[in-house]
């Protein structure tokens, strides 16, 4: 009986590792009407990010994102984009992820704030040709304060799911969740800054252990 009991595998309790760091990003976006007025419905999205972890001691990741969009209306935009994500985790060899993605974004202005819905399908080329498909969905809410409408509350959440199992990208299942709460300041209609706290909760490749990243996140948004 003892042997039978010993043979039953009991999964180890999941470990959650907590870390602190920060992300900074600059996002620029506008239509291509400045190139040719006939291109006014086409949009360009350029983005750069820097990411620090290990209690702000280590720059571990950058993101360069470029995308071309087509405005179905001023509220709905279809996108296709490319990300380059150079990564250097502490004590591990450098690698760079490349991602292609189609996406859709919808902006819904209401009397009590602006909602944004963004759907993307990351096609991750992590190493070699073992391609991982990872849809991600963001819900975002921006609420201007009555006392100064340039100042706003910003809340968003984005969830990522791994559709398929890959050698470098891990098992299919939940991948990560990013939740943000912070404040925004509109300098002009075309320039806004945001600062806040982001929690990034990430599953490991075997869906056994999680990392809880506590991040200060700063953003600068530039439109044209």
């Amino acid at each position: 009986m003892g042997g039978l009991l010993a043979a039953v595998s009991v999964p180890a309790a999941a470990e959650v590792t907590t870390t602190w760091g920060s992300w900074a990003q600059v996002v620029g976006e506008g239509n291509l009407g400045f190139v040719d007025p006939r291109l006014e419905k086409f949009r360009l999205w350029l983005e750069g990010q820097g990411r620090w972890n290990e209690d702000w001691q280590h720059f571990y990741q950058g993101v360069v994102r470029a995308a071309l969009g087509y405005s179905l209306s001023d509220r709905a935009t279809l996108w296709v984009g490319y990300n380059f994500v150079p990564t250097q985790l502490q004590g591990r060899p450098y690698f760079a992820i490349q991602e292609l993605w189609p996406g859709f974004r919808y902006i819904l202005p209401t009397d009590f704030g602006v909602f944004m819905f963004r759907t993307m399908l990351d096609v991750n080329f992590i190493r070699g040709d073992d391609v991982r498909f990872r849809p991600r969905q963001m819900f975002r809410y921006l609420h201007p304060f009555e006392f100064d409408k340039r100042f706003s509350l910003v809340v968003w959440d984005e969830v990522f799911v791994r559709v398929n199992t890959t050698e470098w990208g891990g098992k299919a299942g939940f991948d990560q969740n990013r939740a943000f709460v912070g404040f925004g300041w509109s300098f002009t209609p075309e320039l806004r800054a945001e600062l806040g706290y982001m929690n990034q909760y990430v599953e490991d490749r075997d869906l056994l252990n999680e990392t809880d990243n506590n991040l200060i996140m700063g953003s600068l948004f530039v439109g044209w």
């Binding site: 209306s73 001023d74 509220r75 902006i107």
Partner: protein, 118 residues
């Protein structure tokens, strides 16, 4: 009439009301069609845009009786991931002078007025 008895497979029916669940996408389509309409925000902000332009024009033209009218209007996104703005091209006239304004309103209380060339 042979063609009515053709053995070809049934045509694809995207929404067959006799089959439960086949029409699930119709409400989504209706919702998205309504959502891409830009009308409401422009209508809501038009009054404050005209008021803002009139106030500015009366100063610029030194003409308390200046009148304004909207030449064109459209929604424009501002900084990414943020607000939509209603953008109006407005013409002001009074006391023998004319001025043109580009008025961007985020809502009924926040507008940016710029005098522009015609």
């Amino acid at each position: 009439m042979d063609h009515l008895r053709s053995n070809s497979p049934d045509p694809v029916v995207w929404c067959d009301s006799r089959r439960r669940g086949r029409c699930w996408w119709l409400p989504l389509l209706a919702l998205s069609a309504g959502c891409v309409s830009d009308g409401t925000l422009l209508e809501e902000n038009a009054a404050v845009a005209l008021r803002s332009a009139r106030f500015q024009a009366r100063q610029d033209l030194d003409c308390p009786g200046a009148v304004v009218n909207v030449l064109s209007e459209k929604e424009v996104p501002g900084a990414p991931w943020g607000y939509l703005y209603s953008d109006y091209r407005i013409r002001a006239e009074g006391c023998g002078s004319t001025a043109f304004y580009d008025v961007e309103c985020r809502d009924e209380s926040l507008c940016d007025v710029k005098r522009v060339q015609p």
